[in-house]
């Protein structure tokens, strides 16, 4: 396996880890809101959160490209402060975050829903505040769902292709991930290199799934 292949794999893993770390707080917040709160428009929020799951990733990428492009207010604001997203590693992380977000939220949410509300209510009668209840009771009891969500999101991020190629491009050494690399190598006739990446992707996916199964089993 060539140095190039390893570099692409390392880059992809680092990007996916970063995307997972950055997604987790948002996903926990969204999962908690969806599991515990009732408010008008909740169904709408649920739908919006799940959107990247059903939209073709290329469409998600097109939306992101527009959002961070020079024609949207967001893109112009970022331009003004000198932050470039399109064609950089930031675009890779953002694409990964957006496509994995719904998966993580779903898992976190079902984890929180399985927590018996009586424990939370009991803690409240003893004077614990909302945040303390969340931190000391809800989240620890929902940790299986959170961990499963994180691993699921990480795995999805590893394989992300459609949104990435739209918004980050396929620039070797700068934005080229495993999935994008496989595509580019096939497109440009470098099939052997593509097979190398494919093998690594399979190994990584295997590792992530194996770990998640073991974690869940250890906890049960």
């Amino acid at each position: 396996m060539s140095a190039e292949t390893w570099a692409i794999a390392q880059f992809t893993v680092v990007m996916a880890l970063m995307a997972t770390a950055l997604t987790l707080p948002f996903a926990i917040a969204a999962g908690w809101v969806l599991a515990r709160a009732t408010f008008p428009g909740k169904a709408l929020l649920e739908t919006v959160v799940s959107l990247p799951l059903v939209l073709p990733p290329v469409a998600t990428g097109l939306l992101l490209l527009w959002l961070f492009g020079r024609r949207s207010p967001v893109g112009r604001a970022l331009d003004a402060v000198g932050v470039e997203v399109v064609f950089t590693w930031k675009a890779v992380v953002i694409a990964m975050m957006v496509v994995s977000f719904p998966l993580v939220v779903r898992s976190v949410r079902s984890g929180i829903e399985q927590v018996d509300r009586r424990y939370e209510e009991l803690a409240a009668t003893l004077g614990a505040g909302r945040f303390r209840i969340l931190r000391t009771i809800t989240l620890p009891l929902a940790s299986r769902g959170i961990v499963a969500g994180a691993i699921l999101g990480f795995s999805r991020a590893l394989g992300e292709f459609g949104a990435t190629i739209m918004v980050a491009g396929a620039i070797p050494g700068r934005t080229q991930t495993l999935a994008v690399g496989i595509y580019t190598f096939v497109e440009t006739g470098r099939e052997e290199a593509a097979w190398g990446l494919l093998l690594l992707s399979a190994l990584l996916a295997f590792g992530a799934i194996y770990l998640s199964n073991r974690l869940v089993a250890a906890r049960a």
């Binding site: 880890l17 970063m18 064609f87 940790s143 961990v147 994180a150 190629i165 396929a170 497109e187």
Partner: protein, 259 residues
Amino acid sequence: MATRNPAMKIVNWLAAGLAVLASSAPIAAQPPSLVVSVAASMHTALEELAVLYRAATGVTVSLNTGSSNTLARQIVEGARAAVFISADDRQMDVVEKAGRVVAGTRTRLLTNELAIVAPIDRAVPANLAALLEGRVTRLAMGETSSVPAGVYGRRWLEHEGAWPRLQSKVIPFPTVRAVLSAVEAGRVDAGIVYATDAREAKVRVVGRLPANEHAYLNIVQPAAVIAGPAEAEGRRFLQFLRGPEASAVFRRRGFGVER
């Protein structure tokens, strides 16, 4: 024990991952380089030229390779490519209409020809008459409204009045590379691609449509400098692409160079 809690484990891994990120300086601290968005069919030639250019000037050229449609879309939305090399005029038109081309820099960099290809192990007829005759039941082409080689292939068949009869035999593919893979695998009887693409695949070229006999096709693969902070570097690179050294590389790979 902290590690008994799976949530803590995850947090630890993430921390480890971020530590790796912090230490993997090559990702963050790369020297600025020239991004060139290039259609997949010219990638190998550009890869070779990037090496030559670096040797001559010390400037690293990063190739963003993809289908011309995607590349054009990215540039229209403001992606910082310095030079765009498209597989056909239409996608360059899109970029130019959006005001992203530096005035006066659009150039007819290369010309190309269509080729009819067939699986290596099959003796397949070479000309249009044979295509029509019926021994070809499945004809692979790039998507005939968006993939450049597919658009030109269709234009040729329409010009010959053969499109209505062949249309039902056409199997459209999203990229030229996919067309070649289908032919290589022997899953179709023939395919229509750019002559230069055919050279890079394990297929048999059974027919060519010489540019001088099919002038109406006028297959041009244009290049232009894209507006942005790297304009000056872009101009220098395009100048190099039009120079004698680059022309020799393109010719050797089967592209037409009009200069």
